[in-house]
């Protein structure tokens, strides 16, 4: 168990290191930065949906909340360290409250979807109607439809004049992404993570076994929101402006599509799905033959119909199949042993 964990961490570091070294030679770091940020956002939903079974229609709400919190705090404080922390805490607390309300009310699937959707809509409508001068938080105008431009961007902690931008910002985002990935991996490997998967598989069974399902779901939901908020704060730094579009249903839809395409129930799937599709969208902006919405829609429909598990699981099962052809008995045996190891903790 310990050994496999070490291998996993090493594997992650090697792959991430290679990507961070190779990719800037192919794509500009500025674009890569946003791909990483979207990857983190996809990852946040992939965690709560793929491993906790919570389908949140409003993950964009936490993303937007993180971005707005950062912008407002940065204007008021003028140094970026504390705003970054607040931008993670505010969405997490919001998710704790919302999650407690939903999960202790025993809301499931569709009803959960409606509530998260409605909350996103409320936030969007509220932010969208704050153009008037009376909407101020501290010295920050909320700005309504036009959003908030011109806030302090990321700086070296303690030194507000040493901005981190350009290539340096890319490496910061990449390192943060790797850290988040490792932390979540550790979380999933812990008993909390395995019980979360148990709840996803059968909620009644887990509650009969004595676990407080509602509390665990609420905490998982808040962790997802915190990651989405972090992604939002990084996005605010990257774009140097926040707009209500961050809260929109379209944004939420995109996150869900990323997860589906990448593959639910895997850690890397949503990240790759997000980065891949966001790059596709960026690349498609240079052609005007076919409407881009049409392509996004078609991709989603085709994936649900033909590849409902997503790319990463499909590819890895393909890998396993070709691997198994050589020595099927050994693989099965290995899997049995692994399962037993898991059951024993």
């Amino acid at each position: 168990m310990q050994d496999r964990m070490g291998k996993d961490v090493l594997m992650t570091l090697v792959v991430a290191g290679l990507l961070i070294w190779l990719l800037p030679q192919l794509v500009s770091t500025y674009t890569l930065t946003v791909l990483i940020i979207y990857g983190m956002l996809g990852f946040s939903l992939g965690l709560i949906w793929g491993f906790g079974g919570i389908l949140c229609f409003g993950q964009a709400a936490f993303f937007g909340l993180g971005a707005y919190t950062y912008a407002i705090a940065a204007i008021n404080i003028g140094e970026s360290t504390l705003p970054m922390i607040i931008a993670i805490l505010v969405p997490a607390i919001a998710a704790l409250l919302l999650g407690a309300m939903m999960f202790y009310g025993r809301l499931t699937d569709v009803y959960l979807g409606v509530i998260t959707l409605v909350v996103t809509l409320i936030l969007f409508k509220f932010i969208n109607s704050t153009a008037g001068p009376q909407y101020m938080i501290g010295t920050a105008r909320l700005g309504g439809f036009n959003g908030i431009p011109g806030f302090q961007t990321l700086n070296v902690p303690g030194d507000p004049d040493a901005y981190i931008w350009g290539d340096a910002y890319f490496y910061v985002c990449a390192v943060i992404m790797v850290l988040v990935y490792l932390l979540v991996s550790a979380l999933l490997r812990s008993s909390f993570g395995r019980i979360a998967v148990g709840i996803r598989e059968n909620e009644t069974r887990m509650s009969l076994m004595g676990y407080d399902v509602a509390a665990r779901k609420t905490i998982l939901f808040a962790i997802g929101a915190a990651i989405a908020g972090l992604a939002g704060a990084l996005f605010a730094n990257w774009g140097e402006i926040v707009t209500p579009g961050l809260f929109s249903l379209g944004q939420s839809a995109e996150i869900i599509i990323w997860c589906i395409v990448g593959g639910l129930g895997t850690r890397s799937g949503p990240i790759l799905g997000a980065a891949g599709l966001a790059y596709l969208k960026f690349a498609l902006g240079q052609q005007s033959l076919i409407d881009n919405t049409l392509i996004t829609g078609l991709i989603l429909v085709l994936f649900v119909l033909f590849l409902p598990k997503g790319l990463v699981p499909a590819i890895s099962s393909l890998w396993k199949v070709s691997f198994a052809r050589r020595s099927p008995s050994r693989v099965h045996q290995a899997r049995r042993i692994r399962n037993r190891g898991r059951a024993n903790g």
Binding site: S129, G144, G239, Q286
Partner: protein, 406 residues
């Protein structure tokens, strides 16, 4: 839309320009003009004609021998009505394509998303859209009308025609808020009274209760700076309730996206507006412009004010480059700051050196049978709102968008 050879070449040039590696296009041979517009997504009704106008202006410049003996090449990007893509393509234009000038941006949010990038990379930037005013930045030149320029002309005219009691319905964002303030000011200055003021976010499309409220207030005139497709339903519901012949309407936004073509004559006739451009302007410059648009694209019914502003913006820039005799940003800014003018389809356009905004002709118009009939032309209106807060001659390092206090 039929494609002719010129549009096709323009299009393919832009696509290759975008797709090829940066090293392929050599910097010395051509002058590079970056364009960044929403030509798909919900704002493409504005963006598409602006893109066409930009390409038309560049083609005309190239046909007459280019600038400084070089051809102008367009690097165009479609931002798909997505604000995040503005940041991305702005980086692409300034750091990889290394263009000499950028024209573009539609919404104020999109302008603010790229303005700082342009400033940091010292890339001259032209924003060619009517907007809420107040931007004070030496690196940007703005070509559209600002609220005071329009409202100062529109309000006295509409009040003289309709009466002193005014009800204002405005879009709830920056532009609407500021315009509403200017309307209130000019209504008071002209001895009138604002009896009601309501703001609507851009997605509101049901105005039934508002129409009842307006009737309770019983104004003589309704001024409606409402924006976008959803808000268009106000004008339709207003006519459907039979209010159109009872209380006259005026607007500072209706018609910018050629909305007069969407409203039927029964719904639109008589609505008073004031802009820098109307297709019905009877000037030689406009006739020539419409003819060359027709020759280039086969149909000129989609020309609207922001397209004309874009065309005028490119032409102003071209004149300044010729005058400066180099592509150096500061020499071009110096040339622009001499207060040069061009004769555009919308009338004479002069650069205001103090604010980098434009001194423009404003035309009072009325909707008539899906056209904008020009009633009166007020020549060379100053951007008084921005002038009251911004003086780039005195403080050239200014970099703010002022909220103008009235």
């Amino acid at each position: 839309m039929s494609l002719d050879r010129r549009a096709f070449l323009g299009g393919t040039a832009a696509m290759t320009g975008a797709a090829m590696l940066p090293s392929f296009a050599s910097a010395a041979e051509t002058i590079k003009l970056g364009s960044i517009l929403d030509t798909s997504g919900i704002f493409d009704a504005y963006g598409k004609p602006m893109d066409m106008a930009m390409r038309l202006a560049v083609d005309e410049v190239n046909a007459s021998g280019g600038l400084l003996g070089k051809q102008v090449e367009v690097s165009g990007y479609d931002t798909q009505s997505d604000m995040a893509l503005y940041s991305q393509y702005a980086q692409q234009l300034t750091r990889q394509d290394r263009v000499d000038v950028v024209h573009g941006g539609i919404l104020s949010a999109s302008r603010e998303a790229i303005r700082q990038t342009m400033r940091k990379t010292k890339t001259l930037y032209f924003y060619n859209v009517l907007y809420e005013g107040g931007v004070c930045d030496r690196n940007i030149f703005i070509n559209g009308v600002t609220p005071a320029q329009q409202v100062e002309a529109l309000v006295p005219y509409a009040m003289k025609k309709a009466g002193k009691k005014v009800y204002v319905l405005a879009a709830d964002y920056n532009y609407g808020q500021i315009t509403a303030r200017w309307i209130q000011k000019f209504v008071a200055d002209n001895g009138g009274e604002t009896v009601g003021l309501d703001f609507f976010p851009l997605d509101v499309s049901d105005f039934g209760s508002t129409i009842a409220k307006i009737q309770t207030a019983a104004p003589d005139l309704v001024i409606a700076p409402l924006v976008g497709g959803a808000h268009l339903s106000f004008f339709r519901q207003w006519a459907a309730a039979g209010m159109k012949d009872r209380i006259p309407l005026a607007s500072t936004t209706l018609g910018v996206g050629n909305e007069q073509l969407v409203l039927t004559p029964e719904e639109g006739n008589g609505i008073m507006v004031a802009y820098n451009y109307s297709q019905q302007l009877d000037t030689p410059a406009n006739a020539a412009f419409k003819a060359s648009w027709l020759a280039a694209f086969g149909d000129n019914s989609n020309i609207h004010e922001t397209a004309v502003s874009t065309y005028q913006g490119v032409k102003t820039w071209a004149k300044a480059v010729e005058m400066a005799g180099s592509l150096d940003r500061d020499s071009i800014i110096d040339a622009l700051e001499t207060g040069i003018s061009i004769e555009g389809p919308g009338g004479k356009v002069t650069v205001d050196p103090k604010t980098h905004h434009a001194v423009l002709d404003v035309h009072l118009m009325e909707f008539e049978d899906q056209r904008m009939k020009v009633i009166e032309t007020l020549p060379q209106r100053q951007p008084i709102d921005t002038q009251s807060v911004c003086d780039l001659a005195a403080s050239p390092n200014d970099n703010t968008q002022y909220e103008i206090q009235i």
